[in-house]
Amino acid sequence: MANDESQPGLDAPAGGFVQLLTPDGERVDSVTTAEGVTYSVDFTDDEYRELYKDLVTVRRLDAEATALQRQGELGIWASLLGQEAAQVGSGRALRPQDMAFPTYREHGVLYTRGIDPIMPFGLFRGVDQGGWDPNEFKFNTYTIVIGSQTLHATGYAMGITMDGKTGSPEGEAVIAYFGDGATSQGEVNESFVWSGVFNAPIVFFCQNNQYAISEPLERQTRIPLYRRAAGYGFPGVRIDGNDVLATFAVTRAALDNARNGQGPTLIEAYTYRMGAHTSSDDPTRYRIASEVESWKAKDPISRLKAFLTKQQLADDTFFGEVDESARKLALDLRERVLAMPDPQPVTMFDNVYPNGSPEVDAQRQQFADYQASFEGSGH
């Protein structure tokens, strides 16, 4: 895309990006890219407020999870701090019929799909593998091996085409989430090839949060990631990933293009992971404080708050209510997470095969017998 002609906004990367809300909370009516594509949003006042509520809620839930991990209640947590706009904007752009394929950090997208936010906690607490039904919520299981899910998304999108569910506004589309590190994976390359060749109705949504654990973007690429799309024959667009309006506008347009039969789009959401990759690493070893500080000034929530305030769409009462609502949700989540029981050990034998297996059945029985042998023996 390289919307060089458009307003690049403050601290935009070289080549610019689509931005509809500046870090100061100034609204940009529309952005026209160098390719002549115009992006804009037209939200009602309520919709602006709802987006703000989403952002605050998601951040609060994430903060609660981080706290739970520090208190030993979760084995690990992959925080989305700083990436709320990228996730909420893209997630809210999805229609009910669209299917999402996440990595393991898309708690904000999960929230927008209407899934109980406690669901990923089973995985991180270690009591299950994540418990939602992907078919019911159109949100697949978390995928931990980097990049694998982009191929699943592509195959699913091919199935949409084979089902004749493209070519109209009522069509279906797929979104695949991944990070900047994943773009180095062969499987992501293959998913780009496949999607281009089969003109699959898919949006590749790369959250470029600048680091793959400790590896900076410079270790993944020599060119802006969105420009890779050209090599596969479909458009690439870079957006200000901390701008929920731009994220929504561009994702919605790309999804509509996909459902209308115009094939894939790669979106690079230029953002920043404010916290660690997961609770197990130490970002102070690989990035400097001034960098973090500079990104704080681009915070996705503060800019929407500034906009709402300037436009007199919300006041302190509203902001207080949102904070209180998020706090209650987080406390409720905390209580429920603490109450999550450990699974019965014998359940490890469940769901290995749809049709079962005599070998697994035999081991289940051996295990049960062995466990039973301890009853009353003081173990």
């Binding site: 593998q129 992907p134 694998s148 191929l151 195959g155 699913y156 199935g159 084979m162 749809p354």
Partner: protein, 328 residues
């Protein structure tokens, strides 16, 4: 209608029948369409079922299996063709980390009825990566089922059973047997067919049990015929299923014969034979007259074709092992 056809043709007929019986079945792989596959196993299927049912894919194995996962989530029943055994490894992550685990990971909510067809084994004079036997890698992975056919009749039925199953299945095809003929009842339905995940006694005998699968079943049967001339009665069991292993018939047999020889092409170290020998020892210890012996490929990379006949277990090596068993 019983016809005498090759194993390759039997697979082709089986695939055709699966495509006919379920509109959700799709075949995908490199060269499977116009060419009909490098071994012609999918010959004519794209012509009759169209490019959406028999999909010529880009040349990338992870992509073939990875997109099959998405298609399966969407409700399709993909049948992936990996062109040769040694080419499966780019897809290995998708097979063992995704295909094998998504049902478990999703607490049973996502079924992946995927079949991954892999022509395997040596004996056709091929170059590197075209003659390997990687079955143990997959049989070691919970969540996958692994089967292999050894004759045309089984090939015809087993491929249909695998496609109809909701379990993810790695389906190994003995490529050196593609051209061997046998009687196949093309009208037989799946109802009442011999179960997919069951081993079978293919030759009865009383003096020793020879356990084989896939391409080695023919070798074991030939060895049994030769042994008979020497007055020794070998029972031959075709495992057919490598995961789950169906060793009930093996235990029954070994308890009668007291001797067991396991035969496979793959390297012996930590191979299928190791597992089978261990289990026979656990289950049949007091019936054994000798240790369970293995006849396998050597623990080397698959050698150059001009010496592969020395690498591959043959009739003489099987008979030698039987002799050693009796010498115990």
């Amino acid at each position: 209608m019983v016809e005498k056809i090759t194993l390759g043709k039997a697979l082709n007929h089986g695939l055709r029948r699966s495509l006919e019986s379920d509109s959700k079945v799709v075949i995908m792989g490199e060269d499977v369409g116009k060419l009909g596959g490098v071994f012609r196993i999918t010959d004519g299927l794209q012509k009759d079922f169209g490019e959406d049912r028999v999909i010529d894919t880009p040349l990338a194995e992870a992509g073939i299996v990875g997109t099959a996962v998405g298609l399966a989530i969407r409700g399709y029943r993909p049948v992936c063709e990996i062109q040769f055994d040694g080419f499966v490894f780019p897809a290995y992550n998708q097979i063992v980390a995704q295909v094998a685990k998504m049902y478990f990971r999703s607490l049973g909510n996502v079924r992946l009825p995927i079949v991954i067809r892999i022509p395997y084994g040596g004996g056709i004079g091929a170059v590197e990566h075209h003659s390997e036997s990687p079955e143990a890698y997959f049989a070691h992975t919970p969540g996958l089922k692994v089967v292999t056919c050894s004759n045309p009749a089984d090939a015809y039925v087993m491929i249909q059973q695998a496609i109809a199953s909701d379990d993810p299945i790695v389906f190994f095809e003995p490529k050196r047997r593609y051209w061997e003929k046998g009687d196949v009842d093309l009208d037989a339905g799946l109802a009442g067919a011999y179960p997919l995940h069951a081993s079978r006694v293919v030759r009865e005998g009383s003096d020793a049990t020879v356990i084989a699968y896939g391409p080695m079943v023919r070798v074991a049967l030939d060895a049994a015929a030769a042994a008979e001339e020497d007055g020794r009665s070998l029972e031959v069991i075709d495992l057919r299923t490598l995961s789950p292993l169906d060793l009930g018939p093996v235990y029954d047999s070994v308890r009668r014969t007291g001797r067991a020889v396991v035969v496979h092409e793959a390297p012996g170290n930590l191979g299928m034979g190791s597992e089978i020998a261990a289990r026979i020892t656990e289950e049949c210890f007091y019936s054994l007259e000798a240790p369970v012996l293995r006849v396998t490929g050597y623990d080397t990379p698959y050698p150059a074709a001009r010496v592969e006949e020395e690498y591959l277990p043959d009739l003489d090596r099987v008979l030698d092992a039987v002799d050693r068993s009796f010498g115990w």
